[in-house]
């Protein structure tokens, strides 16, 4: 049993969609993120992103839109473990998979369909019915 609220990992595809208004998934990311922020404010969850994914985020956005997000620092031991991950784990997902395992993260906000193959809960990115034009994308999860 953890004393902390459950952590939601915001992966690079989600961050990219959230922070780029031109991204096709921006509207979905924004709506999902605002719901997560409400839950964060109510102390029902924590928001996290890896140091690798946050590395290129401008300071203004880090302190602004991503203010509630804490950094999961990727250490050398995580990278070494990622290099030894099971065959079939995509190279670019290996480090996040290691962190998800080590930090016992159960929920991920992502637009990467590969995460649906793992035993984790994906944050719904479905738009509310009264939101503007849909991008016509398949849903990753409900």
């Amino acid at each position: 049993m953890s004393l902390d609220p459950p952590t939601v990992l915001l992966d690079r595809t989600f961050l990219a969609a959230l922070l780029d208004p031109e991204d096709v998934n921006h509207l979905r990311a924004r709506e999902a993120y605002l719901r997560l922020v409400d839950e964060y404010e109510a102390n029902r969850l924590l928001l996290a992103a890896t140091s690798d994914d946050l590395h290129h985020v401008p300071d203004a956005q880090r302190r602004g839109a991503l203010a509630p997000v804490f950094t999961l620092h990727v250490a050398g031991q995580h990278r070494r473990a990622a290099a030894k991950a099971a065959e079939g784990v995509p190279d670019d997902l290996a480090v996040p998979v290691v962190l998800v395992a080590r930090e016992r993260i159960r929920r991920i906000a992502t637009f990467d369909a590969r995460w649906s193959a793992f035993d984790v809960d994906l944050v719904s990115t479905e738009l509310p019915p009264d939101t503007g034009p849909d991008n016509g994308l398949d849903q990753l999860s409900n």
């Binding site: 049993m1 953890s2 004393l3 902390d4 595809t13 969609a17 959230l18 922070l19 208004p21 991204d23 096709v24 998934n25 921006h26 924004r30 993120y33 605002l34 922020v37 409400d38 964060y40 404010e41 102390n43 956005q61 302190r63 602004g64 839109a65 991503l66 203010a67 509630p68 620092h73 250490a75 050398g76 031991q77 995580h78 473990a81 990622a82 030894k84 991950a85 099971a86 079939g88 784990v89 995509p90 290996a94 998979v97 290691v98 998800v100 395992a101 080590r102 637009f111 990467d112 369909a113 590969r114 649906s116 193959a117 793992f118 035993d119 984790v120 991008n135 994308l137 398949d138 990753l140």
Partner: protein
């Protein structure tokens, strides 16, 4: 799966990992087992030391014991976590050193000594009776009774209970450790201010023929006897440093009563059944009754200590909620600016 704009497709070869737990796909964290083994060994050695040499009581011995535990708990963790730990330890040491320096100096700063005022408050609360006198008249016997063992043992948990909680939180959740330490440090800070402003004669001193006060009948002060009767003893080493300073008039507030409340109060939100909440809250009550029976504190000392704990929680709970709201507001504003 066909490629759809904005969705990264899943290759057929990657379907083999479907529905597997991430923990099953990455190497086992062997350092975790090393830490568990070291901490288990530490616990065994600590219990052996407790039985053979006594319970570490003086500040430096406790700090050394805690330091060894932290090394066991952090072996193999990333360097960044070690750097954070070092910073935390420095702050922790500064906190205790400041507390001991203030506590040690408080009774030399010339503030008027409270002799009868606190005792009178107790008598007002208890309809003209002195609770310590009443308890000892009724229950104290030359032969150690079971309640002497309970009272004495409870008294001595003060020297380990909060430290154990700090150590466990330090090892398991830095976030929760920081939350606990904010509340704990606030308690110590307010207590030090009160030690300076309201140096207070405790019941044993108020009754002792070695001092001129003698405002209550003679009381027994054998805090250790129940603990010793159970086969335990205290381990106190004089390090000839400021951390050895005592202050016999630092009765108000009672840190024994405060520490006994701050730990269950911190964990109360995670305890679900009401009966379990009530049970853990019995501990500070048992501590206060023990302190009064053992003539270590007036009842009011404990009540004020509890009030400080409550205030500390009220303050920090609000501060943390406000911090979450500030960050959430910045997030909403930041997202709005992206549109």
């Amino acid at each position: 799966m066909s490629s759809t704009a904005g969705v990264i497709p899943v290759d057929e070869g990657e379907r083999a990992v479907a529905a597997l737990r991430p923990a099953a796909l990455v190497p086992v964290d062997t350092w975790r087992w090393v830490r568990i083994t070291l901490m288990t060994t530490y616990l065994a050695v600590y219990l052996w030391w407790l039985r053979t040499k006594g319970l570490p009581i003086d500040r430096i011995s406790v700090a050394i014991a805690l330091g060894i535990f932290l090394v066991c708990a952090f072996v193999g963790k990333p360097g960044r976590q070690w750097a954070i730990l070092v910073g935390d330890v420095v702050l922790y040491a500064v906190m205790w050193f400041s507390y001991e320096m203030t506590r040690g100096a408080a009774d030399h700063l010339g503030m008027p000594l409270q002799v009868e005022s606190v005792r009178n408050l107790d008598r007002w609360l208890f309809l003209g009776h002195d609770p310590t006198v009443a308890l000892q008249d009724r229950y104290w016997t030359p032969k150690v009774q079971w309640y002497d063992q309970v009272a004495s043992f409870t008294y001595y948990t003060h020297f380990v209970f909060p430290i154990i909680v700090m150590a466990v939180l330090w090892a398991t959740s830095h976030r929760q450790w920081a939350r606990f330490m904010k509340r704990f440090a606030t308690l110590l800070g307010v207590a030090c201010v009160m030690f300076v402003l309201l140096p207070t004669v405790p019941p044993w001193m108020a009754s002792s023929r070695k001092f001129p006060y003698r405002i209550v009948p003679p009381l027994e002060r054998q805090t250790y006897r129940g603990f010793y009767d159970l086969g335990f003893k205290g381990f106190v080493k004089s390090w000839q440093s400021a951390l050895d300073w005592g202050n016999t008039v630092a009765a108000m507030p009672s840190l024994h009563a405060s520490f006994a409340l701050i730990v269950p109060a911190f964990f109360l939100p995670w305890i679900r059944p009401r009966w379990a909440k009530a049970l853990v809250l019995c501990f500070p009550v048992v501590m206060l009754v023990s302190l009064v029976y053992l003539a270590e504190h007036w009842v009011v000392d404990g009540l004020v200590g509890w009030a400080i704990v409550g205030s500390s929680f009220w303050f920090w709970n609000r501060a943390e909620a406000r911090q979450r709201t500030r960050r959430a507001t910045r997030a909403r504003d930041g997202v709005a600016m992206l549109a």
